[in-house]
């Protein structure tokens, strides 16, 4: 290290000057200490600017925000470059971008949740909405209601029941297939070629667009029953199963893999046959994980609209028979009410129904997600620790 020379000590300020900068061809970029306060002040300034642009100059909100954010970025860069050097400036600019990304995402998502609650809460818990179907309800009823001469009629009872039946059937189909496939992958197949292929095709299946799953179910039922009578509840359940099975397989496989091998070996060493080892040791150990994975899979498909639109048609009244004729679900119901109001002139009541159904759906999805978390937490296997 012959190049190093004694450098004079700086009397004030930094700890010590570096020797790296004495190397020819190296231009050092030092960092000076800064605080977050300037950034905060500038952010306030940018906010004021945004308000001025919006209210004073009547600019579009998005434009006002983007302009003041760009201004903010420039100001942050300049100020921190002055205070802390270019590296600090870049660091602060990136920090601003990360925070801005967060805000960018939160705003629409919060707006979405707010809209659903605000628009849907009025009707969603109304007993007449929950207990009635759309049987016999026409645009005239809606017009009467709007003019104040009739009651609010027409609800989502049949759609709620249909959602439960179709999702239930889909669960009944998907869970055994998915679970046993996962068992095959983990317990029997190992890494043989068949299980590699199955993993691959499960991946492929995960990517099937939901509407394609619906088309498949429809095409299948057309072959079985002819184009006229192809639309029925079970077709929808099969379409949902195509979407649900890969999720169940993946979640279950993950959970079965977590079960420690020592448990299996301990059981087998006691002379317990393999199937009983799986049934009595492996599955119970993984039970909470499996249940939570299945719950999440249900939550994923319960709001599906497109495949059902294609496969089950649209029923106005209650239909309990999944093997004959169209049915309805909350998602399909919301879609039709929203896009094809009963009375094109008086859309309000139909929109109300649509938002109410949407709110119910969101609540179900949230509840299922929370339930999955709860199951995973409460009944976590007590292995180790």
């Amino acid at each position: 290290m012959s190049i190093q020379t004694q450098t004079p000590q700086t009397p004030q300020g930094d700890v010590q000057r570096s020797r790296l900068e004495d190397v020819e061809g190296v231009v050092l970029s030092r960092v000076r200490p800064t605080t977050g306060r300037p950034a905060l002040l500038l952010a306030l300034g940018a906010l004021v600017l945004a308000v001025v642009l919006r209210l004073g100059l009547d600019m579009h909100v998005a434009l006002a925000l983007v302009l003041s954010f760009v201004g903010y970025l420039g100001a942050v860069y300049a100020v921190y470059r002055h205070l802390g050097g270019p590296r600090v400036a870049v660091d602060q600019v990136l920090r601003a971008l990360v925070y801005f990304a967060f805000v960018c995402a939160i705003v629409p998502l919060a707006s979405l949740l707010w809209t659903v609650v605000a628009q849907g809460a009025g009707r969603a818990f109304d007993p007449s909405f929950l207990n009635q179907t759309m049987n016999g309800v026409t645009g005239l009823h809606d017009q009467d209601y709007a003019e104040g001469v009739g009651p609010f009629v027409g609800g989502a009872y049949h759609a709620i029941v249909g959602t439960l039946i179709i999702t239930g059937l889909a669960t009944l189909i998907s869970v055994p297939i998915g679970l046993f496939t996962a068992i095959y992958l983990v317990e029997y197949g190992g890494r043989n070629p068949l299980s590699r292929w199955i993993r691959f095709f499960v991946d492929v299946m995960t990517g099937i667009p939901s509407i394609v799953a619906g088309l498949f179910a429809f095409a299948l039922f057309v072959q079985l029953f002819g184009p006229r009578d192809a639309k029925m509840g079970i077709a929808g359940a099969i379409a949902l199963s195509v979407l649900m099975i890969p999720t169940v397989v993946r979640n279950s496989e993950e959970m079965l893999r977590i079960v420690p091998n020592e448990l299996r070996e301990a059981s087998l060493a006691l002379g317990v046959p393999q199937w009983r080892t799986i049934a009595k040791v492996v599955l119970p150990t993984a039970a909470s994980g499996l249940a939570s994975g299945i719950t999440l899979a249900i939550a994923r498909v319960i709001g599906e609209t497109a495949p059902l639109l294609v496969a089950i048609g649209y029923a106005r009244g209650l239909s309990l028979n999944a093997f004959e004729g169209p049915m309805n679900t909350l998602a399909v119901y919301a879609y039709y009410m929203f896009t094809k109001p009963l009375s094109p002139a008086v859309r309000e009541p139909s929109l109300e129904r649509a938002w109410a159904a949407a709110l119910l759906l969101v609540l179900i999805v949230v509840a299922l997600n929370l339930l999955a978390r709860l199951i995973a937490k409460m009944f976590a296997p007590k292995t180790g620790r």
Binding site: V186, Y188, G190, R191, D203, Q274, L309
Partner: protein
């Protein structure tokens, strides 16, 4: 996980096979094979129902110029909407993932992570309704402005006053795929070895420099995989586009009326379709299936490459 498999090999060589074992083994093998059959069935029945449209004389297809002429504007709309969604969504998603994993306090980060996962499960019809009722009308004036000031760019043609345009649909798609890309990215960012982060910091890196040196290179393959996943979802997304976009013929103008996507075209026309029209829509679905399949295989290839990569550690 090789152990159970070898055990099976050993037990199957013994003479006694218990009925329970045969049943269990059979059921699991059967389910596994059934999955392959279902997938084959999806392809088979789609092709079967699509054949009439693919073989029909050109003038009988909607538009009167054959299936290809019918489907390519739809493919264009689908791909454009998804790509715009991906371009808008990915940087924001990476930003949120970094915010959650490296900027926000732990507690807050976990909470946000849960909310993001929840949003990934919000039904797409709800996104569509929101986009149509709340979002699209707000964008109308913005499109007006874009059209007036940036009208020389082809994609900013005459503005639609209702905001029900391909651009709006793309933005809503971006919001919809945000949670997917975010949760994958957050996961890989959180897995960055602490050792590498500390190595960067100990060399005198600022926070961003640490992220650039240690976190991003480590997480990039995962982020790309997540992005492809989001792209696949956007390509197949039906309801949001079906509700928001006022469909029309192919146009380069993304902020005015016009354009359509395959899934939305199917959803909007299927309920009333019959005969050859049905077959046409199913054939369009088949095309969509092939596109998403290609994207998924590509994503898988990237994720596999990553597995090789991290195997070195």
């Amino acid at each position: 996980m090789n152990a159970p498999a070898t055990r099976r090999a050993r037990s199957s060589s013994t003479a006694v096979r218990r009925p329970g074992d045969i049943l269990f083994n059979g059921a699991s093998l059967g389910s596994a094979v059934l999955i392959l059959l279902i997938l084959a069935g999806v392809a088979f029945f789609l092709v079967m129902e699509a054949v009439p449209a693919l073989t029909a004389p050109a003038e009988e297809i909607s538009g009167g110029e054959g299936f290809f002429a019918y489907v390519w504007p739809l493919v264009f709309g689908t791909v454009v909407a998804s790509v715009i969604a991906m371009l808008l969504g990915t940087p924001v998603a990476i930003g949120i993932a970094l915010f959650v994993s490296h900027y926000a306090p732990r507690r807050l980060g976990n909470g946000i992570g849960f909310v993001i996962d929840l949003l990934a499960a919000v039904p797409s019809v709800v996104f569509g309704m929101w986009g149509m009722a709340v979002f699209a009308p707000r964008l109308g004036p913005l499109y007006e402005w874009l059209s007036q000031n940036l009208g020389w760019i082809p994609i900013f043609g005459d503005a639609s006053a209702t905001g029900r345009t391909l651009m709006t649909a793309s933005i809503v798609l971006a919001v919809m795929i945000l949670p997917i890309i975010t949760s994958v990215s957050r996961e890989v960012f959180l897995q960055t070895p602490r050792l590498h982060e500390e190595a960067a910091l100990a060399l005198g890196a600022t926070k961003w420099e640490m992220i650039r040196t240690a976190v991003l290179p480590f997480g990039m393959p995962g982020v790309i995989g997540g992005t492809m996943l989001g792209l696949g979802r956007a390509l197949g997304e039906t309801m949001a586009v079906a509700i928001i976009l006022a469909p029309g013929v192919f146009s380069w103008n993304f902020i005015g009326a016009g354009n359509a996507t395959i899934p939305a075209e199917i959803a909007l026309n299927f309920p009333e379709a019959a005969g050859l029209r049905l077959s046409e829509l199913i054939a369009a679905g088949l095309v969509l299936f092939v596109i998403t399949l290609a994207v998924n295989l590509f994503a898988r290839w990237i994720v596999d490459r990553r597995a090789e990569f991290s195997g070195a550690n």
